[in-house]
Point group: C2
Chain length 362, copies 2
């Protein structure tokens, strides 16, 4: 299978063996924050204010094959389409079911979704970014547990603009050194700006680096985002019943740190699934973050758009976008479910087909 192991070879292979041929359920957790609108932080939308529409539009793309909240599909300021295009192609090829969890979106998706009582996040520079964290975790746990009972395993992705900045916030608050290690949708990773935003947030919360150690709920409430609460709950609840593939890049390491602080036992039934663009990214270090506090396996879909006939897809090879909406995890799940029949080639063909149709290229 076109899957690369990036961390903990032994456990990664055991995880892959466990999920091969099995029927997963994919859960996309969507959320938005005011942090995502800070200029220069995120490329998950044509402009900062547009980031409110990216997650609901991603949800619509996954369930309907087209967006309703916006025309076309979410794009970066350069016109590069959302990674949900990869996700939807992978899920479709392997006939994998999808559910949406509203992890706190300002604009509700025009598709059915699971409500866990989340609200959108504020700007983390306020030091008071997320409401209701504990209750959202508890409700999401219930959902994760029941959905994991219903299916063979769970793949849980996210769509939240600005999520690597809030990831840096929560990792820092939990005493994990993630400075210069979180990824970016942008080719030039704005590490300096992210650090500044996080420092302002931690300062506003009148807390010093590491002071939230052992209190992940406070960490999310102060400098996190609402997706983290929902996903942490889903993963913990799910892991009680079945394996869970956390589908995402460095944003998922913050959720992992939260889980590690809340219920470390859950970690033995978890892997992170992402893309090669994340694990081989020179401007971030997903393994360097995770290894500081656990040995959860990290696996990556060996996607390669270098041979694509579309420049808009080729550009992924330059480090733009990289991951999102569980693109890597969904690709891994599609490969595993089909026993390798879905591979990087068939996947690229399906992605190109959907790209041409959604971008109305003739």
């Amino acid at each position: 299978m076109d899957i690369i192991v990036a961390n903990n070879e032994l456990k990664a292979k055991a995880f892959l063996q466990e999920i091969e041929g099995k029927n997963p359920l994919f859960i996309a957790t969507v959320a938005t924050t005011e942090t995502g609108k800070i200029p220069g932080l995120s490329a998950a939308g044509a402009n900062p204010d547009f980031t409110d529409f990216t997650p609901p539009a991603d949800a619509e793309l996954l369930l309907l094959g087209k967006c309703k909240s916006i025309q076309g599909v979410p794009i970066t300021p350069d016109g590069i389409p959302t990674p949900a295009l990869i996700t939807t192609s992978a899920l479709h090829l392997a006939d994998i079911p999808v559910l949406i969890v509203d992890g706190g979106v300002k604009v509700k998706p025009q598709v059915p979704y699971i409500d866990v009582n989340s609200s959108p996040g504020r700007d983390i520079r306020s030091g008071d970014s997320v409401d209701n964290v504990e209750e959202v975790i508890e409700r999401a746990k219930v959902v994760g547990e029941h959905l994991a009972k219903a299916s063979d395993y769970l793949v849980i992705g996210e769509s939240i603009p600005g999520g690597t900045t809030t990831a840096l916030g929560v990792l820092s608050a939990l005493n994990v050194d993630a400075q210069g290690k979180v990824s970016s949708t942008l080719p030039d990773n704005p590490h300096g700006l992210k650090a500044e935003v996080v420092a302002t947030g931690l300062g506003a919360a009148a807390q010093k680096f590491g002071n939230f150690r052992g209190d992940p709920i406070k960490a999310i409430s102060a400098v996190g985002d609402p997706m983290m609460a929902a996903v942490a709950g889903l993963v913990i609840g799910g892991s009680h019943q079945a394996p869970v593939l956390m589908a995402g890049g460095t944003q998922m390491t913050a959720v992992l740190a939260v889980i590690n602080a809340l219920e470390p036992n859950a970690l033995c039934n978890i892997a992170i699934g992402t893309t090669r663009w994340v694990t081989q990214d020179l401007s971030s270090d997903i393994c360097g973050i995770v290894k500081q506090f656990c040995d959860v396996p990290i696996i990556a879909a060996d996607l390669d758009f270098g041979s694509s006939k579309y420049p808009g897809l080729q550009i992924y090879e330059t480090g733009l976008v990289k991951e999102g909406v569980g693109a890597g995890g969904a690709s891994i799940a599609a490969m595993a479910k089909s026993g390798g029949a879905v591979d990087k080639q068939t996947l690229l063909k399906e992605i190109e087909r959907n790209y041409a149709s959604l971008m109305q290229i003739k």
Copy 2:
């Protein structure tokens, strides 16, 4: 297995064979209407205004094992506990996962639920009882399809006070003769009052009996309830992927009539699962309704509380409550999943245990 076939023996046995040993997902669709508050119509609540709290409390009982929106559990005016007690006992015994769909409740449950953009129903005497029917059906279809992909089959129940009156409304509107045939939570079935309410509703909609024939969306919008739209969508979407057990009494026949008008092909993957108290009820006639328009099998859990040590459960044998919150279908699913290891005896023991604990009987 302690299951009785009430309609279409051959298809019923084939359906039971298909689900034996399989892992279902139970979906409880909760909704409320102003119709449910018409005095004398429903016993699903200690008093009419309390019916707003019964469905959310039922949802909480299924997911948490206790209610949050109310103290104790929902009861009839006589103090008889909600049939969700049977449902939760059955699901627990067979370790069957549960999800809640908000089919339009006024009071939101304090547990996670799936949002399909439903709203509570008005009084059908207005002739304009439910908004947004078509969109709710479409959203619910998407949910049903994905959940049926994730699990072996679906069991779909409802909790909506006053639901047999709106069932009579929609059946009448769709030209099915259900006069004197719908069931009741009350031992003295108020057929006259139901007929009067429905006649007023059809009159207000300036439509005569049968005039909505072939237009089930208009029928629900005029004299139905929002549960019907959500469940019809869930069942249709689900039936594309897996068998669906519609868990309920005569209320489900109205949904069946809606499905028959919208997408008759769906019927071949559907059965109705209810209780012996419904199929053997002398004051209603579930088979007499269904046989008018289709040959969907009807099966019933052969529950018998006659030997219970608790008078509050024994009273079910007098025809009080009879069914609700998918009690019969959940019992059938528990028996089928366990290959008969869960039977009427083990089920009664578990129900008694939960009854004593929830009613705080020492």
